[in-house]
C-alpha cells in the first residue's frame, strides 16, 4: 500500500484558530489524531512572558516541514496530514502549532502525529525568542522536555 498522503502545510504570520482550520480540513480515515500547542504564560525560567518571537528560514522551513510530513506519513501509512505553524510574534495562549493526522486506524494516526510533532520540533528551522515582561529577551536553544 504505497498510497501518498495528502499534505497540507501552512505558516501563519498572524494568530490562527486551530478548530476553524480543522473544520475546513478535507481528510479521510476513521481515525484522527490531533495536537495543538499553545504559548505558555511564563518564560522557561518562570518569569512572566510578554510574547514569543518565532524566526524561521523562509523556503527551507516549508520544504523541511513537507519532507518531514511526507516521510512520517509514508512510514505510518497515514492518509492525510495537516500542519499549521505560527511565525512572528506569538502571544501567551495563542496556538503555535497544530498537527492533525488522518489514518485508517488509531495506532498509525497517533504514532504519526506524535512522531511528526517531535520531528518538526527538532528538524524544522524555527527559533524561539522569549520576550519577558521585564524587558529581557533571549533565544531558546532547545525544546521543552517531552
Amino acid at each position: 500500500m504505497d498510497r501518498v498522503a495528502q499534505l497540507q502545510i501552512n505558516l501563519h504570520p498572524a494568530a490562527f484558530e486551530p478548530l476553524t482550520l480543522l473544520s475546513r480540513w478535507q481528510h479521510n480515515g476513521a481515525a484522527e489524531s490531533q495536537f495543538i500547542g499553545r504559548v505558555r504564560p511564563t518564560a522557561s525560567d518562570g518569569a512572566a512572558l510578554l510574547a514569543l518571537e518565532l524566526e524561521h528560514y523562509p523556503g527551507m522551513t516549508e520544504q523541511q516541514l513537507e519532507n518531514l510530513a511526507a516521510g512520517c506519513c509514508r512510514r505510518h501509512g497515514a492518509i492525510s496530514c495537516l500542519v499549521h505553524h505560527r511565525i512572528g510574534r506569538v502571544l501567551p495562549g495563542e496556538a503555535i502549532v497544530l498537527v492533525a493526522i488522518g489514518a485508517d486506524r488509531r495506532g498509525p494516526a497517533q504514532r504519526c502525529c506524535q512522531e511528526l510533532l517531535e520531528a518538526l520540533k527538532h528538524d524544522a528551522p524555527f527559533w524561539k525568542r522569549e520576550c519577558r515582561t521585564d524587558g529581557i529577551s533571549h533565544w531558546l536553544t532547545g525544546n521543552t522536555p517531552l
Binding site: 500547542g37 518565532l54 524566526e55 524561521h56 528560514y57 523556503g59 527551507m60 520544504q63 523541511q64 505553524h85 503555535i96 502549532v97 510533532l117 518538526l120 520540533k121 527538532h122 528538524d123 524544522a124 528551522p125 524555527f126 527559533w127 524561539k128 525568542r129 533565544w139 531558546l140 536553544t141 532547545g142 525544546n143
Partner: protein
C-alpha cells in the same frame, strides 16, 4: 564564448548566531582563495565558518545547503545558498 564569473555563494545566519555575528547574509565570491586550499578548490561550509570567524563552535550549529541539511565538509558549488543554523526550537 564569454568568460563567466561564477555565481557567489550566499551565506545566511539565523537567530542567536545572526545576532552574535552582527550580520544576516552575505555573498562569498566562489573563486576566492581560502587558506587551507593551495588552489581555488571548492570551499566547504567548514572553510567558510573558519574564514569568516563565525562565533562559537561549528559543532554546535547545523549546516544547510540549498535548504537541505548537509555535512560541514560538503564541497560547495557556485550559486549555492549556505546557512548556519543554531539549535532549533520549533513547535
Amino acid at each position: 564564448m564569454a568568460l563567466h564569473t561564477p555565481a557567489p555563494i550566499r551565506i545566511r545566519l539565523f537567530a542567536a548566531l545572526r545576532e552574535q555575528a552582527g550580520w544576516a547574509e552575505r555573498d562569498w565570491p566562489f573563486n576566492d582563495h581560502i587558506p587551507p586550499h593551495p588552489q581555488a578548490a571548492p570551499p566547504t561550509p567548514r572553510d567558510l565558518w573558519e574564514t569568516l570567524q563565525l562565533p562559537g563552535a561549528l559543532g554546535d550549529v547545523r549546516v544547510a545547503i540549498n535548504h537541505q541539511f548537509a555535512e560541514a565538509d560538503t564541497a560547495l558549488q557556485a550559486g549555492d545558498e549556505l546557512a548556519f543554523l543554531p539549535p532549533i526550537s520549533g513547535g
